[in-house]
């Protein structure tokens, strides 16, 4: 997975390399770039690969590889994801070979491969100097616009469903309120990372009892949840319900007005899975109602929506990452799908430890590639 995701980055560099190659004298660009070394020597052996420079200026670099070992070796310069930027094969013991690499600014790896197999002995190589921004900004802008449309549809329904929930609470209809609780939360959980931008409102809407400091006033969904499932008395929850819908209205207005960056989308997709890992799999989110799997599903869908909005950009820059994400999203959905029950989900406390571990594994498998989206889109 590490590989397929870093491979994504390689494409970003690939697009860059054309621009860099045509930009003339690389050594003259950017005063911060290190001085151009003549040739970079590489001392290769069966167990070591000593590259004389760890940082070179953008443009062409010449590597001189001497094989001091007993095995035939190879030398590579890789862009992230093992995209080959330069290679020289069949360096027999005792031989010295040269290879020229054209490298735009960025982070690379060099590798010697004694025996010509395996991952090789890796070293980091930093290339610095002027580098032009990518020309696909229009696609990134389209991605955020797309995601904003998603926020709009979700928040519209969030308002409607929260109002229904609040009405049921105020009417004292415990059964109906219990039924609406996980449903209204679904729309909230799908877009929660955006809501979190407005720090003080998120806790007012979604704080759990355990989150509170001594003496702090508890409001929002989970206060009503406890009254619905534990105290079974919602007669005094009218003001809490009123405040909930007022806070939700405020946050919906703010969310729809917020300017989002592609990075917000990438990080939001990751944060939603972090939410699943820390709150839902443990059953801490809905500790009274045990309706955590509704939230789990909503987080997963919200994460997927953010990734889908970025998809055109990712397909261009990181096609392998897109493939991995598709595969792992499908696996996570399938793992969760086993616990569907009617229109909803099994309760958290109906799942065995082994079933929870399977869900945890699926989220871990998905979250690692998702954490690679941010660097892929910012390059």
């Amino acid at each position: 997975m590490l590989n397929s995701t870093t491979r994504g980055l390689a494409l970003a560099f690939g697009a860059l390399s054309l621009a860099a190659c045509g930009s003339g004298t690389p050594a003259a660009t950017g005063s911060a770039a290190p001085e151009k070394p003549g040739k970079i020597s590489v001392a290769a052996s069966d167990t070591e690969c000593k590259v004389a420079a760890a940082e070179v200026p953008a443009g062409t670099s010449t590597f001189t590889i001497t094989n001091g070992g007993t095995k035939v070796t190879e030398f590579y310069v890789y862009a992230p994801g093992d995209r080959v930027m330069a290679e020289v094969e069949n360096i027999v013991p005792g031989l010295t070979r040269e290879v020229i690499a054209e490298l735009p600014a960025g982070t690379y790896e060099t590798a010697c491969k004694p025996g010509m197999v395996g991952k090789g002995l890796r070293n980091a190589l930093k290339v610095t100097g002027e580098h032009k921004a990518l020309s696909s900004d229009a696609k990134l802008a389209e991605a955020t616009a797309n995601y904003k449309r998603y926020i709009k549809t979700q928040s519209d329904t969030l308002l409607v469903k929260t109002q229904e929930f609040v009405d049921a609470v105020k009417a004292g209809d415990i059964a109906k309120a219990k039924e609406l609780f996980p449903v209204s939360r679904t729309y909230w959980e799908r877009i929660e990372p955006v809501a979190e931008i407005f720090g003080d409102l998120d806790p007012a809407i979604d704080a759990r009892e355990a989150d509170l400091a001594a003496g702090e006033k508890w409001t929002g969904f989970h206060k009503i949840e406890k009254d619905l499932w534990i105290t079974k008395d919602i007669s005094k929850d009218g003001p809490v319900a009123d405040k909930l819908i007022a806070d939700v209205k405020t946050i919906v207005a703010k969310s729809n007005a917020a300017e989002l960056t592609p990075l917000n989308l990438a990080n939001g997709a990751k944060e939603l899975l972090d939410e699943v890992a820390t709150g839902k799999i443990t059953g801490e989110e809905d500790t009274w109602s045990h309706t955590d799997l509704w939230d789990f599903d909503a987080n997963l869908q919200g994460s997927k929506a953010a990734v889908q909005a970025l998809r055109p950009v990712l397909e261009e820059r990181a096609p392998d990452l897109v493939k991995t994400l598709d595969e792992k999203f499908a696996a996570a959905e399938a793992a969760l799908g086993k616990h569907q029950k009617g229109d909803g989900w099994q309760l958290h406390n109906e799942l065995s430890k082994a079933e929870l571990k399977a869900l945890s594994d699926a989220i871990n498998a998905l979250a690692e590639p998702i954490s690679k989206i941010a660097p892929a889109i910012t390059k």
Partner: protein, 417 residues
């Protein structure tokens, strides 16, 4: 009193390592001085990742352990092989004291999660070794390995009295991380687990804080949590011929991918230390068959004296009882079968009943468990008087392939060839 002083010094040295050498050596006996000298010179140095055999077996036992067992979650053979290659590359870096990925904790772009978790930044290699093993469950039909399962990797029989917990037993792949610094060992396992997400899942893991065996004559025999020297007759680095006979899988043993490898048995053994501690010294020594101070076999003077299983006391009874641990475990009473033990003490907090959750994480390497661990343990499980104070709660059996020839090699290469 002076005996007690020196015992405390001994513990001090084990924990504090090089720092305590000067002070400790003056007041303690040769037994204590000897190992610390050899120890101190290498406590932060790297151990080579390459060689005929994997490091972490006859490597002089380091002070700390983090052991992990994984279940393979991918069903794709190619993904598993890819992971083993990534792990090998990361392991080769980690044992040199380098970071898990080439960009490390702070060398990457700010938008990316660092490719090393960072807690070992600035720490030396600390003698880190990473040793891989493959469990019997890997050899099912998922990866086409059924035909490659070694006969010696036969499931262990049920031993009388064991109370194994399935969730902390077995696994498809294990990695034993040993180092002189616990942070270095934990860092290695954490980064390997991270690289493995989506392909493997941590099944269980175990920390060990103090070695309970010596695997070199340059090391003193340490004590287990019962306060005894146990495993005096351990196979050691210097016993080349014995290692060939008892530790390493020979070419004639088969399968070919295991030649130069070894089989590891892990057992988590909970000790009822509270009841043990209120047992009289005489009874404790009778149970082990050794003197608690010097570790000498009963009736002898020094730790490495050969036990006399025939000698009788004034009462006409054997000096070393028939059910004493040393008699039952000794090679001379087991057809010469020996083990290379490499276990660690553990204390996993407390058990909620006012007792320490403590014991021994037993690790033993050998050429063929069917002829070594299994018969010895069967005998111990049936008759060892120590059983009243211990309980086996986890079990693992692992085929550890030979060492990495060079950087082109990878964990499991010959197995997956």
């Amino acid at each position: 009193m002076s005996d007690r002083m020196s015992r405390r010094k001994l513990f001090g040295l084990g924990a504090a390592g090089a720092a305590a050498v000067g002070a400790g050596a003056v007041v303690t006996r040769a037994l204590v001085e000897e190992p610390t000298v050899a120890h101190a010179a290498s406590i932060s140095d790297p151990v080579s990742f390459y060689g005929e055999h994997q490091a972490g077996i006859v490597t002089p036992a380091q002070d700390r352990l983090h052991f992990v067992a994984f279940d393979v979650t991918t069903d794709k053979r190619a993904e598993l092989v890819e992971l083993l290659q990534e792990w090998t590359a990361a392991a080769a870096r980690l044992v040199q004291g380098k970071e898990a990925g080439t960009f490390g904790t702070v060398g990457g772009v700010p938008e990316a999660a660092p490719d090393d978790t960072g807690e070992a930044l600035g720490l030396p290699a600390s003698g880190l070794t990473l040793t891989i093993g493959f469990g019997p469950s890997l050899f099912d039909d998922r990866f086409g390995l059924a035909g490659k399962r070694p006969a010696a990797l036969a499931d262990l029989p049920k031993f009388p009295g064991e109370q194994l917990i399935p969730e902390i037993s077995g696994g498809d792949i294990c990695v034993q991380a040993c180092a002189h610094d616990p942070q270095v060992a934990v860092h290695a396992i954490r980064n390997l687990a991270r690289i493995g997400f989506g392909k493997v899942s941590v099944r269980w893991s175990q920390l060990g804080f103090g070695r309970t065996s010596s695997t070199s004559r340059a090391q003193a025999t340490p004590r287990n949590l019962m306060g005894f020297k146990d495993g005096t007759n351990n196979l050691k680095l210097e016993d080349a011929e014995l290692l060939r006979q008892q530790l390493w899988v020979g070419a004639q043993d088969g399968p070919a991918w295991m030649t130069g490898g070894s089989y590891m048995v892990t057992r988590k053994i909970r000790m009822m230390v509270e009841t043990w501690d209120r047992t009289s010294l005489g009874e404790q020594e009778a149970i082990f068959g050794r003197d608690k101070g010097a570790g000498a076999p009963l009736g002898k003077k020094a730790e490495f004296d050969t036990p006399d299983f025939v000698a009788k006391g004034g009462d006409g009874q054997p000096l070393i009882k028939d059910d004493a641990h040393v008699r039952l475990a000794h090679p001379t009473t087991n057809g010469g079968a020996r083990l290379l033990r490499r276990g660690y003490n553990f204390v996993d907090g407390s058990d909620g009943l006012g007792r320490l959750d403590a014991g021994l994480f037993f690790i033993a390497y050998q050429r063929d468990p069917r002829k070594q661990f299994v018969p010895v343990q069967m005998r111990l499980a049936k008759t060892d008087s120590l059983n009243e104070y211990i309980k086996h709660i986890s079990s693992g059996l692992w085929a550890c392939p030979p060492g990495m020839r060079d950087a082109g090699d990878y964990w499991g290469r010959a197995l997956f060839a």
